[in-house]
Amino acid sequence: MNDAIFERLAAIVGRDHATIQPGNLSNYQYDGSADHALPEAVVSPGSAQEVAALVALCNEYDCPYLARGAGTGLSGGAIPESGGVVLSMARLCQILEIDPVNRLAVVEPGVVNANISSAVKHLGLQFVPDPSSQGVCTIGGNVAENSGGLHCLAYGVTSHHVLGCEVVTPQGDIVWLGGKTADAPGYDLLGVFIGSEGTLGIATKIVVKLTPVRQSSRTLLAVYDAIDDASRTVSDIIAGGIIPAALEMMDQLSTATIEAFVHAGFPTDAGAVLIVEVEGLPESAAESAEAVRGICTRNGAREVREARDAAERERIWLGRKSAFGAMGRLSKSYYVADGVIPRTKLPQVLAQVAQIGARYGLRIANVFHAGDGNLHPLIAFDDRKPGDYERTVAAAADILRACVEAGGSISGEHGIGIEKRDCMTLQYGAADLALMAKLKSAFNPRGLCNPAKMFPTSRRCGESSRIHASGKLSADVERSIGPAF
């Protein structure tokens, strides 16, 4: 980046909030995915106006840019693959307003997800979407990825809990999509903005819905010898008209690994474990818990244990949320796949996942949102072994193929980003992708805002997309995707 551009960037945010020092830049080359690429500059704007001015400047110099929250994303959405400027949202981290009467809060994008619920807990309210990374990830990132979480089975994902966003468009305009009130007239631009992975603009304020905490919550742990029995239980619970707040499954490799890591009280010899949480008025929650217990038992659960108190409940959830961290004990590296299937296809697809693991000689642990059919196979590999990463990526692609063939989706909550863009063709045809490109061109006609994410390149799904150096896409790839992508 030439000095003149950097000077102008620094003039907008202040010299203390802009850097081109290689040592500083290297902190922004990663997110939670396997890819990495160095930005040319990092700036931390302190207001929507500063964001708008930075975007206008990037437009002037034809310079790519992207917004970054906590960098916890798992699909490479915050990796500056094309170089350019990273706008860190770290300074925009205030909860601006809490309105308990209207059950909403206005927050800046850099606010950590869990901090919203902490700030309103004393009011008996919460912000429902709770991704496993909620202690670190930011609401701006949640909006970009339309994040889910453990409790989205009953309550929905981020898009169901956001009323409006102040957005800086890729043209540098500051607009409101939605607002504090419902049913904003006109096209539902907020609906497409959420989950657009930072490619349609940058959120600078977010109006979130707050939900009262239920009176009673019952958490059950059902232990099975066979994973198929657990899978059938999931279908039977839903078919029985019960929508639990959460319905999670872990296989033996997961529970054994987690137990060694956090001592959550999980059995280490079970074929599978289900965590089922039901909520409501005390009588209703008790009734639902009893019904769930019956369904688990009828499907062959060898034990159904209920958390006796809040501490035990928290320990169970700590175990579940520690799953990814625990995988570090299993192998040097691991890769989190993310795909969705119709929940009735769980037994079939889990068997396919096991076969895929065997075919590639990789160990795969399954810990996932069973109620949504959202699989998260964790593939253990050794990054130092030549070819191990490539085999892992190929195995993950086979898992996604199995998901799509079962009628599902290539991502339930981690997004497409760099990681899965070449797998989009598994799920979508040319006309489907062309429709997405048309929408993108309406918002981001020059393609400078988080370029090259989400749309397929000339690679095939399953070919490693890891980028080992800062820089741009190869020329042939760039030609094939065009500026709108």
Partner: protein
């Protein structure tokens, strides 16, 4: 064929168009009359039976420079602004039927011309439902409900229909057929463009198929009817329900005049405002919830409360759902509009409705912050003047107004109010990107899009 020539279509030209599109259009005025939009009879009506037929038809019409209005059951044809002229109607009702339904997955895929009632019947057999209570439920199609962004008070527990659309297959003005979203309950693969088509009133393309998330029918439902002396008190009770973490399926409130349309209530008593709360759950759970709601209402100053059993609350809801969208009122007399505000502002908006609306009947979804005004246009001295006052007050307070239905002469004059903060320029770009030829009902959407 230039756009203006379509206005003088003759039979041979229509037949040529039909030959190219692969289906014969209706062309005689007497055949086309039942497909009128707000009294304007179209010159041609195409009724494709498949998405592929729709695609060929749309491609042909776009090539001829026609403007096309997609029409379902026509239940929302009187939403302002009325069209000045109607070239071609694309009748969506022939593309109907359930394509795929897996009860244990809680998903169903239907052709968009399927009626709400038809779908409800299929789902009810499995103790499930599409959790929405839109007006015009007896006739409306799923495509029409989504295009018109119809919803009801069930949004309190289940969200609006927008929140329960998982995927869509649409046809754009160039004839291309595209799928967006997925057929599973959770997906973040690519842009969620289905949300754009919800509420687009058919101006972005033709919705062919829709995959919906459905919900289990509660085993038991109960109603609580509470009367209050003021809207403020009634809203206070709703806020208290939230504070007590009570989660009913839906809550509506009605002034004395609108309460009279709810046949299941009979004569409920002495309140100026009536709150109706629909509770669902297990057999024991629904009763427990209803009792708790009733108690909160009494503590919040209700003059009386009444419990309704399962059948009676469902009977009551058949009227309540129709009330909100104005379906219960005579189309040739009443202006029906919805005003979105903060839940805490519902009493103020109700008061505004009663002040400016003259004889207006007022109802609300207090939990969502939506107030409905139903004004008898024939009995209002200066309705246009009153609407200006309402618009000014709404603008000053950040409320948004949607006209849902208007009698014909008025409907031609009314334009949907554009809130000052509305990003119309961005919406224009979206329209230009998805429908660059302006085939789909140009000029009638918000801001003249």
């Amino acid at each position: 064929m230039p756009r203006n020539e379509l206005r003088t279509l003759n039979l041979p030209i229509a037949e040529e168009l039909g030959r190219r599109a692969g289906i014969r259009p209706r062309v005689r005025p007497e055949e086309c009359a039942s497909y009128a939009i707000a009294g304007k009879v179209p010159k041609l009506v195409f009724s494709p039976r498949t998405l592929s037929e729709a695609s060929k038809t749309i491609q042909t019409l776009t090539a001829e420079g026609a403007s096309v209005i997609v029409r379902g059951a026509g239940t929302k044809q009187f939403q302002p602004p009325s069209p000045v002229d109607v070239d071609v109607v694309l009748d969506a009702t022939r593309c109907s039927g359930v394509i795929d339904y897996v009860p244990a997955d809680l998903t169903v895929t239907v052709f968009a011309g399927t009626t709400f009632v038809e779908l409800a019947e299929v789902l009810r057999a499995q103790q499930q439902f599409f959790a929405a209570d839109p007006p015009f439920a007896s006739d409306a199609t799923i495509g029409g409900i989504l295009s018109g962004r119809s919803s009801g008070a069930l949004r309190q527990q289940y969200g609006t229909p927008r929140d329960n659309v998982l995927g869509m297959r649409v046809c754009l003005s160039d004839g291309s057929i595209a799928f967006t979203g997925s057929k599973v309950v959770k997906s973040v693969a690519g842009y969620d463009i289905a949300k754009l088509f919800v509420g687009a009133r058919g101006t972005l393309g033709f919705i062919g198929e829709v995959t919906l998330k459905v919900a289990p029918l509660p085993a038991e439902q109960r109603g609580v009817v509470a009367t209050f002396s003021s809207a403020n008190q009634a809203c206070g009770a709703v806020a208290q329900m939230s504070s007590h973490a009570l989660f009913p399926m839906a809550t509506t409130m009605h002034d004395a005049a609108s309460t009279r349309h709810i046949r299941a209530l009979g004569h409920v008593g002495d309140g100026d405002w009536t709150l109706v709360v629909r509770c669902g759950g297990s057999r024991a759970g629904a009763g427990t919830l209803a009792d708790a709601v009733s108690k909160v209402c009494m503590q919040s100053g209700a003059r009386s409360t009444l419990l309704l059993d399962h059948d009676r609350i469902l009977f009551g809801w058949s009227d309540i759902a129709e009330l909100a969208g104005g379906a219960i009122y005579a189309a040739d007399r009443f202006l029906n509009c919805a005003i979105a505000c903060l839940p805490s502002e519902v009493p103020a908006v109700c008061a505004m409705g009663q002040t400016h609306g003259g004889n207006a009947e007022v109802s609300a979804h207090p939990h969502a912050g939506i107030v409905f005004m139903h004004i008898d246009a024939t009995r209002h001295d200066d309705l246009i003047g009153a609407l200006h006052l309402v618009a000014a007050e709404a603008e000053a307070n950040g409320w948004s107004i949607a006209y849902l239905r208007a009698p014909l002469p008025l409907g031609a004059k009314l334009r949907q109010p554009v809130p000052p903060s509305s990003p119309i320029f961005l919406m224009r770009r979206v329209k230009a990107a998805l429908d660059p030829t302006g085939t789909f009902d140009p000029g009638r959407f918000l801001g003249g899009i």
